[in-house]
């Protein structure tokens, strides 16, 4: 278990860093209309099948960065490529990106099930099929029993889990997650961490994951990117030398605590 492997070996199907990166972020700058420079000269890349975490101070531009990768808005300078295309075209042509937003962003007029199967509905999948996938995702996040409830009847953490289920049900190849587990209790969080890793390994998903929980970042990722305060840049990259699959026991290993300590230290300096 505790063998240190390089992360790109975890899924044999992925070619690793020698081939073209799935996501290429090159000297990106993003200035908002009010003049706020959110990102500046930010570069990094993500290879297919990797699980990359972003950590950084509050307001440093993590969410902005995820939105840029998802092609949800223009950048002011630099270049972003996903599978060699502009993020927007990549998303539109492959239809395989999912995003867990920082807020739950549920449709209040749809019940939980309706919210979860929305991406499938938008893709035009037949109702029966998508209900099945949605229920399965709900079971994964432990909310199968409230499938008929409306968002306003849920607690904050439950809403976030619905949002998570929606992304899982979409079966993306690229999964962008913005603090998906921030409002979950420790137990649920750890269970879901395990589930997420299991699914990703199974399906070969590439994940860009924003979190404030360094333990979580280290537990999940092959690489942790540390961002500076605004304007955000990647100031450090910490490879996590722990083999996949990662079982809960990883948390007790010295490599684990060592990496966590290193990231926290880098964060403090950022």
């Amino acid at each position: 278990m505790a063998v240190v492997e390089s992360p790109q070996t975890r899924t044999p199907s992925t070619p690793g860093p020698t081939s073209a990166p799935l996501i290429l972020v090159d000297r990106v700058q993003k200035t908002y209309a009010n003049g706020t420079v959110a990102l500046e000269d930010l570069s990094f890349e993500v290879y297919e099948g990797q699980f990359v975490s972003l950590v950084g101070p509050s307001g440093c531009g993590k969410s902005t960065l995820l939105r840029v990768i998802a092609g949800l808005g223009p950048i002011s300078a630099g270049e972003v490529l996903v599978e060699g295309l502009s993020p927007k075209r990549a998303r539109q042509e492959r239809a395989d990106t999912a995003f867990v937003f920082q807020d739950a962003t549920l449709l209040p007029w749809r019940n939980v099930l309706g919210n979860v199967d929305l991406p499938l509905e938008l893709r035009g999948q037949p109702p029966r099929e998508r209900r099945g996938a949605a229920m399965q995702a709900l079971e994964t996040v432990g909310l199968a029993e409230v499938a008929r409830a409306y968002p306003r009847e849920l607690s904050g953490g439950m809403r976030m889990r619905v949002s998570l289920a929606r992304a899982l049900a979409a079966h993306p190849r690229l999964l962008l997650m913005d603090e998906p587990f921030g409002s979950l209790d420790e137990i649920t969080r750890q269970r879901l961490n395990g589930e997420l890793l299991r699914i990703c390994a199974l399906a070969g998903w590439t994940v860009v994951f924003v979190t404030h929980n360094v333990f979580e970042a280290v537990f999940l990722s092959s690489r942790v990117l540390v961002m500076s305060r605004r304007p955000g840049r990647v100031v450090a990259e910490v490879p996590v030398e722990l083999a996949y699959p990662r079982l809960p026991e990883v948390r007790t290993m010295p490599e684990y605590s060592g990496t966590v300590g290193k990231v926290i230290q880098l964060l403090g300096e950022a």
Partner: protein
């Protein structure tokens, strides 16, 4: 704390009575006040007849009034239906960009504010006097609130939800049908509430302007002929019948609205915490 929630298992009929009682009570008080004030202040009956006189006139001419009501009802409903369809279509177009909105709004306002008498001859010549012209006028008069409210609604969509739809590559139609329109529903429904009454006014104004007298002339016709003969009680009977029609359509719209919004919109749900 003290306060505990009411048991939810109340008898349905009692519940219904409980909900209906205050409006009915208000109505009784209103009518009684009207009767008493008009009688006490000796307001002459040709200015403001008492409720009893109006009811008398109503009962007397119930046959004519009911025929007129049904005719006006039909025209108002057709006009209302037309403005729902056209109004929402126009709003859909206008909500596409600020530019379109700015370019098209003036013409919507033009249609709203142009005095009907100016275009009545055109309408009568094009579609003929009688019901078609009346429907067109009811449509023109009830159109604007639907356009305005729907446009505001469609441009108010929560930005995060828009991003989410974009992310999942929703088509234009999907974005409209599954996001913008449902989100705009509280606005649309408010627009419909306003328009429902305007459609009734429109039908009556239409009957004034382009209706035909006689056999199928709705409430507008009755009102004009009552005014001509100075039969104020009869006039008020017809006028209040038209208001009643407005109230009925309004209630219909409100029920539909409650049906659509009850699960999620603040204005339609009863919060218990």
């Amino acid at each position: 704390m003290g306060t505990t929630t009411r048991p939810a298992t109340r008898n349905g009929l009692v519940e219904w009575l409980w909900r209906a009682a205050p409006p009915v009570g208000a109505f009784v008080v209103f009518v009684a006040l009207w009767q008493v004030v008009v009688t006490l202040l000796r307001v002459p009956h040709y200015l403001l007849p008492t409720p009893s006189l109006i009811v008398g006139a109503w009962v007397d001419r119930i046959d004519i009034l009911l025929v007129a009501l049904s005719s006006t009802f039909l025209s108002a409903l057709c006009g209302f239906g037309l403005s729902i369809v056209v109004g929402m279509a126009v709003a859909l177009v206008m909500s596409q960009s600020k530019l379109l909105e700015r370019s098209l709004y003036p013409y919507a306002i033009l249609l709203q504010t142009i005095p009907i008498v100016a275009i009545a001859p055109l309408i009568v010549i094009w579609v003929g006097a009688g019901m078609p012209a009346v429907v067109i006028i009811a449509f023109l008069i009830s159109l604007f609130p639907i356009i305005t409210n729907t446009t505001t609604g469609l441009t108010s969509t929560d930005h995060n939800l828009v991003s989410m739809f974009e992310l999942y590559n929703a088509s234009w139609w999907q974005r409209m049908a599954k996001l913008r329109l449902p989100f705009a529903l509280p606005y649309v429904m408010t627009g419909l509430r306003i328009s429902s009454g305007l459609a009734v006014i429109g039908a009556i104004v239409g009957e004034f302007i382009a209706g035909i007298g006689g056999l199928r002339g709705g409430l507008g016709y009755v009102i004009v002929s009552a005014a001509n003969r100075l039969e104020m009680a009869y006039l008020f009977a017809a006028a209040l019948t038209s208001s009643l029609l407005g109230i009925i359509i309004f209630i219909g719209v409100s029920l539909v609205s409650a049906r659509f919004l009850r699960h999620w919109h603040e204005s339609a749900i009863q919060r218990d915490m």
